[in-house]
Amino acid sequence: MIRLNVNGKPRDVDVADDTPLLWTLRDVLNMTGTKFGCGQGLCGACTIHIDGQPARSCITPVSAAGGKRITTIEAVGATAAGKKIQAAWLALDVPQCGYCQSGQIMSAAALLAATPKPSDSDIDTAMAGNLCRCGTYPRIRAAIKKAAGVTDTGA
């Protein structure tokens, strides 16, 4: 049994130490907002925060998260940066199919929390690991800038 702190609540899970947080969240805790995309940390769909830092939950074992604060898409709106990001996503209608967007929002919220006025290059660095097949990239960029209150030059 491992005790996790998920969105501020203690959760005891009976899984092997090497079980990735992704499957622990989705299959054991039934928190399906965090998505499976690739299983190898290549697409970012499973991004969560561990102590505020973005992490790919598909390659992060539960054993690495003991005693740390796990935040998922279900609760990121309770953080200042997450709330701003979600509002900007809504204002610009960023999602299409929406499947990758949990991960996009988690990466963007972590970026905004660490870098309140991100440059295009900051956005590239923080978001390049989050793939989107619907091509929402232009709106993701614009929404991050909107949330940050920086001017979108359209670049």
Binding site: V15, A16, T19, P20, W23, T24, R26, D27, V28, N30, M31, T32, G33, T34, K35, F36, G37, C38, G39, Q40, L42, C43, A45, T72, I73, E74, G77, Q86, W89, L90, D93, V94, P95, Q96, C97, G98, Y99, C100, Q101, S102, I123, D124, T125, M127, A128, G129, N130, L131, C132, R133, C134, G135, T136, Y137, P138, R139, I140, R141, G154, A155
Partner: protein, 715 residues
Amino acid sequence: MRRRDFLKVSASAAVGGGLLLGFGLPVRSEVRDTLTTNAPFAPNAFLRIDRAGKVIFVSPLIEMGQGTYTSLPMLIAEELEVDVDKVAVEHAPADDKVYANPLIGIQMTGASTAIRAMYVPLRRAGATARVMLVAAAAQRWKVDPATCRAENGVVVHAATGRRLGYGALVDAAAKLPVPEKVALKEPAAFRLVGKAHRRLDTSGKVNGSARFGIDTRLPGMKFAVLAQSPVFGGKLASIDEAKAKAVPGVTQVVRLDDAVAVVANHTWAAKQGLAAAAPQWDAGPNAKVSMTDIVGQLARAAEKPGAVARNDGDAARAIAGAAKRIDAVYEQPFLAHATMEPMNCTVHLTTDGCDIWVGTQVPGLTQAAMMKLTGLKREQVRIHNHLLGGGFGRRLEFDGTVRAVQIAQHVRGPVQVIWPREEDIQHDMYRPYYYDRVTAGVDAQGKAVAWSHRITGASIVARYIAASIKNGVDPDAVESSANLPYGFPDIHVDWVRQEPPSGIQTTWWRGVGVTRGTFVVESFVDELAASAKHDPLAYRIAFLDKNPRARAVLQLAAERSGWGKPLPAGQGRGIALCTGFGSFIGQVVQVSVGKDGAVSPVHVWCAVDCGLQVNPDTIRAQMESGIIFGLSAALFGEITIKDGRVEQTNFGDYRVLRISEAPRIDVHLVNSTEAPGGIGEPGTSCVMPALTNAIFAATGRRIRKLPVGDQARAA
């Protein structure tokens, strides 16, 4: 009421009170007859208004990112006189009769048809309901309905100021005769259609509450991970079942003829169990199949004349007599769909029924296939559709559901079957490899006098909707050339069907035949312009005098791009036109090619004339989407086969564009009152040749084989 009329529009009291309207439409019979035993008219879309005034639209079409769960409610709300936000959308159950897409004939979301198919019927649905609600209010007030009007979910009698909400009128309305004819608004009177409206599905997609098929959670549900024979057509030889079962959480191993699944309490345990099982395979007849064999077959097939799709004049003679002859061969690879939501399906099979939770573009076809597989009756096979985590054609197939049901046949209780990304990539049904030979004859000034195009590849139509094959021609495969927008004097287009080795399955992929054809047509026209030393825009315009909408989008895209203005060294602009799906798209791509040959699309200008616009912001989003999807494919996309197996495995070797690689995109919409066209696919179709034409402009290198890869690198 005559039966025919009843079937066209029917009204009844809804269960629990309220007004229920069913709508019927003629569907394309040749398609329908292949797939269903449908009646000529059937109720089509269901609209329900309850006593609280809530409007529920049971949508025959599924939301997969394209925005139909907003644009279709807009059509209803426009005529019903309610806020768009008041229309709740429900996924339709499987039913090829009731929920047929009128343009296709079965319950299918695809081929960029949503607005084209629903623009009139859903407005009529809204208008019919409104007229009946107004009539019910007028009856209650004992006034002439003509003195009443509907606004914002309320019927108003202007003279007396009386008002009744729709919810208070639904029971009375349900007892009224259905009007045979209702007047629809003229576009000038639209208050919603044509104005950007925020999507209705966004909030669930930003807070994690949106439910995709993979998010199905049921009491007692097990999780299964699947491995299929890595060589197409191979069989399962052996597995170490004991080792699999030794993994904590593993409950069961399911052996199929050509696949194996490990079932467990959670996906990770199943995955670990599958690794421990170390399945061994008998490769079978395809053990040595490689791309050389596949492309060789296509090239040989392309030597012989095919079924004639178009024949104007005598192209062969005109080419023989022309001042110059230009030949090219274009090749386009197998492509995977790589939807962000990997293939998955949840099944609960019992002796008296089969419940299936999945995201599908074809609920009715899926249901029919599962009836066949299980021997159950139609009403026993229940498809619970979900939002799709990407469709792009992948979910026009039900192979994933077949696999899940095959596994569920061995499992007690509900089971969710997940394909690891590697399975998703290696066992996709691919966009077929296409091999196109094109020849033109040009006059002394370089102007084309004849066009001859032989298209060779697999036929999805022949497998999927065989009745659409006419005179041996696959209309999808030849569409772009058979419906060439350019007015060349003599044109010959023929088609040769050549399937890949058995076991390699092909299917629809965003943009379908138009995408493959547009790449060839727009690349070769660009070659003709280059050969004539003409400006690629001017060269095209000269052949578009009978096609003003095509001409206009090209000119608009060019103008916005600064066409003709000098660019820094290593940069170039390429232009392309796409006419398909009832829409006209012109695009200019500006590309930068590094000294190392690295290709970066910098900026894309996209002009769209899709006729009358319903939700302009969705049109913009679909263009952005199509462009990025197409750039991924054109730059990197390629599935290759070696020793009978797919070489690519995951996003590491099946690359898609990242945000850091995405160009700036400017979309310009052309105002039009023409019939609405499709917008889900043409953006993808247009960008591929615009990109490669830009690479030519920047480097002088003509890309005739996709993907671009490192072809822009100096030799």
